[in-house]
Amino acid sequence: MGGQPLYLEPRLESRLRSLLHSTQLLHTLTDALGSPLNVVVPDQLADNIRQFRSVYGTRHLSGQIYFAHKANRSSALLRRLAATDAGVDVASLEELQHALGAGLTPDRITATGPKNPEFLWLAARTSVAVSLDTRGELEQLATLVRKHALPRSRVLLRLSGFEASGVRVLSRRSRFGTPVSELEPLLEAVERHADVVDLVGVAYHLDTTSLTEKATALEGCLRVLEECRSRGLRPRAVDIGGGFGVNYLAHGGQWDRYTTELTEAVLGTRPPLTYGGHGYGLRNEAGTLRGTLGLYPAHRPVAGARYLDELLAHPAASLGGRPLAALLLEHLYDLHTEPGRALLDQCGLTLTKVLEVRETEAGGPLLVRLAAKADDVALEEHGVFMDPVVVPRDPAGAGAGTRAGVGAGADAGTEPVAVHLFGSLCLESDLITRRTVFLPRRPEPGDLLAFANTAGYCMDFHATRAQHQPSARKVAAWQEGDTWRWCLDDQYWPTTPVGGAL
């Protein structure tokens, strides 16, 4: 294989680790329900909410944590959420119906994103707070409320295009929200429709890993709220969206080493690390590296609740340099957050069965074909690099002398191997990963490869039924004492576990 294997071991907290050690259960599940199979762990969601709550607690902030529904369509997760004190942010009519049906009361739901009339009507009908993207949407809502004699609607104004003073922060452009420069006519519209809408706050949604940009936006919101108050409006909340990130990898050192070697592979100073020499956005121009590495920063020491805490500790330069948390508190504002990915950290995994392990003539990486399509494990689509965990079919005999005639003989199955992972779709492009993946031992047909932590984002976004192949079924799993229990995702309610979640 040449050199040391470049592992990118997933970070596994105790629940997921325990589940992955339940080899027999995982094989029973995939034997019965097929491969690929998604497993969600609802209890972990409640733990993650507690972590976010503790950040609110130490800073004495009130306000709601809204789980961003779009991250995963699991019913089990949503129903487990309903059994906590958190809320949900929904971005479609179907998600709103799902949330109401899972037991989330309207005061714990907020409607965001692009909206069609039905979605807007049901939100207003049930008195769910609506985050308005544009002035047009505000007019549309006001018309609906009047025409159908609905209750006065609670609204937030989603804003964008915040400017920092002193240093110009070139922020990522957002499709969402009204630019702050168009605030004046927007507020006039709010005042004009005061009989049908009640302004409860402002919001932003910024797709960036940068704390500075988010701090700039939050500071901008504080100024807008002050402007609202000076006009006699009485807003009391800021919704700062999500994007707090997940730390996917167990070891920062592995990530540093991997990315350096990837750089060198692109520059041609080491053998390729990808199928077909793909550079993930990097390219070699006359010996100099150009482009930008288009990968999610998979090892992130500051992610999730800690990211929120750092954002809140950020000083607001234009408001006297006090930390943003102190300003929110002193101004008596509620803080709303909408973490999706970060709330689902460690909440699930995707199981895929190995169908075939093929050696190449040139002695390069093994070709491993999985009973799954690339769309079922869309890690790469999100730039997330993380090794799958091998769950052997026969744990006792894992590579121990049962595979006569393979490679160097009896020990072949215990040596690290480099592999390329392919999907089951009859398309050249159906690669689960374009990169060479290193596994601690050679997988065999029948083994499972478990992609940990995919519940965060990658479970449902892309899954299709191409070639009549089923998309993954979903089960919920929970622990009772030392035993893992499971049921179909649809069957899970917080009352399901005996002596469990409630």
Binding site: H60, S62, G166, V167, R168, V169, L170, S171, R172, D207, T208, T209, S210, L211, T212, E213, L222, E226, R229, G243, G245, G252, D256, T259, T260, T263, L267, G281, G287, T288, L289, R290, G291, T292, G294, L295, Y296, P297, L319, G320, R322, A326, L327, L329, E330, H331, L332, R341, E380, E381, H382, G383, Y457
Partner: protein
């Protein structure tokens, strides 16, 4: 030394020997090239001047603007040079993490644009990264930008090939040093100096220093980032080693405190990396009979003053100050728990009858937005300062302290009680409880 222009003061910096008692090398003389003594404060003065000089007057006629991707010293030098020629500088960066440098650049009249952070939800179809877009703006046909392009401009390297390198040889009495150690930023100084020294003596050993990947040292790139630099050629260096931020600060402190050289962390990294590298060579020399004497040179890029917040963040221990009197930090948990307090309803009655002085400890912005009628605003940081000097109001005047949730006010109520005030109370639950109880808040 009389000059007609400050630009004539660029270069010809001193080469100062580091006392062997400090570095402990027995057979190697170690010299520091004090680039911090350039007029704008860093090694980048040379490159900035060499790159910009041929184009400045032309750009001034066109009414253009100097543009550079820089996080600090190059921008500083260019801002001054641009200003001297009636131009402004726009510095585009995503690496400017030192607040003092940002402020200094703004003060010098520069415009700073920060590139946006990475996307949290990656879009695999996005084709252009912000840097590509930046370059596209520069190359638009009607662009009047003067882009100095320090990472690719050969005049960056040339400044050191014709200046810094020959100066070192001259100061070593016409001999090249046996070792040259430099941090890799734009790679301009290390490449240019190395080339000049090797022309003199091909046996010179050149060590490049990069920042450890997980660390941030201002002015130094990590090995991956170095590959993005057009001037960087790995073949220039006999070795490339990495230095951590802690090591850079350790080296900086040695230079600052024991050598009288007020270097910043980059110079500290160069010193630390040099001594680490040379210690091995020194041992090998000691084993030879008779021991040969060698010399080594490292570059001190810039000054310590701009990096105080950087150092404070990593080494708060270096800024320990003596404890002051009457500090809320001195209070025990029990004292805070038993601090005199009053609920919202009772407080309202007390304000009506007892006329306590109501002190709102929140920030002026929050106070201006909404507050208890008749209260005064003394923000907590200021209040703490006042208390170091003693009680700021008469013992005969009752006091009601208010903060957002009653936590800070409880601390100060306990402290004032300890200082001898007979009737001070904290508003339980703070202004938030006040609001939630429906008590009036005004904006006047």
């Amino acid at each position: 030394m009389r000059y007609d222009s400050i630009t004539e003061a660029i270069g010809n910096t001193p080469l100062v020997r580091i006392d062997p008692a400090v570095h402990g090398l027995r057979h190697i003389d170690l010299y520091a090239k004090l680039e911090l003594l350039n007029p704008f404060g860093s090694v980048k003065d040379r490159a900035a001047w060499n790159m910009a000089r041929p184009h400045l007057s032309g750009a001034a006629e066109e009414g253009g603007q100097v543009v550079e991707l820089s996080s600090g010293n190059t921008a500083k030098a260019l801002a001054v040079l641009a200003g001297m020629h009636g131009l402004t500088l726009k510095s585009v960066t995503n690496r400017m993490r030192i607040p003092e440098i940002k402020d200094l650049l703004l003060l010098l009249g520069a415009e700073i644009e920060e590139l946006p952070g990475q996307s949290e939800c990656l879009d695999p179809t996005a084709t252009d990264d912000p840097l590509t877009l930046f370059h596209r703006t520069l190359s638009e046909p009607d662009s009047t930008y003067l882009h100095t392009d320090q990472y690719f401009n050969p005049r960056n390297t040339e400044a050191h090939f014709t200046g810094t390198g020959p100066e070192i040889v001259k100061d070593l009495d016409g001999r090249a040093p046996d070792w040259f150690i430099a941090c890799v930023g734009t790679a301009g100084s290390s490449t240019g100096v190395a080339r000049a020294l090797r022309e003199h003596d091909p046996a010179v050993r050149v060590a490049g220093l990069v920042a450890a990947k997980s660390d941030f040292i201002p002015g130094i790139r990590t090995i991956d980032e170095a590959h993005e630099v057009g001037l960087f050629d790995p073949a220039t260096y006999d070795t490339i080693e990495s230095v951590s931020a802690d090591e850079a600060i350790e080296g900086m402190l040695t230079l600052n405190r024991r050598c009288g050289i007020l270097a910043g962390p980059t110079g500290g990294a160069a010193y630390f990396g040099a001594v680490r590298q040379l210690r091995v060579a020194d041992q090998e020399l000691a084993d030879e009979e008779p021991a040969e004497r060698q010399s080594a040179v490292f570059i001190v890029c810039d000054r310590v003053e701009s990096y105080l917040s950087y150092v404070r963040q990593r080494r708060p221990d270096l800024f320990g100050r003596p404890r002051r009197k009457n500090s809320p930090a001195d209070l025990s948990d029990a004292e805070i728990r038993t601090a005199p307090a009053i609920g919202v309803a009772d407080a309202q009655a007390w304000i009506a009858t007892g006329e306590p002085l109501v002190v709102d400890l929140r920030s002026p912005y929050a106070y201006a937005a909404l507050h208890i009628d008749g209260s005064v605003n003394i923000v907590d940081e200021l209040f703490e300062e006042l208390l170091h000097g003693g009680l700021p109001f008469s013992r005969n005047r009752p006091v009601l302290l208010a903060c957002p949730v009653g936590e800070k006010s409880a601390r100060y109520a306990a402290l004032l009680t300890r200082m001898g005030h007979p009737d001070v109370r904290s508003l339980t639950g703070g202004v938030i409880a006040w609001r939630d109880a429906g008590a009036p808040l005004v904006r006047d």
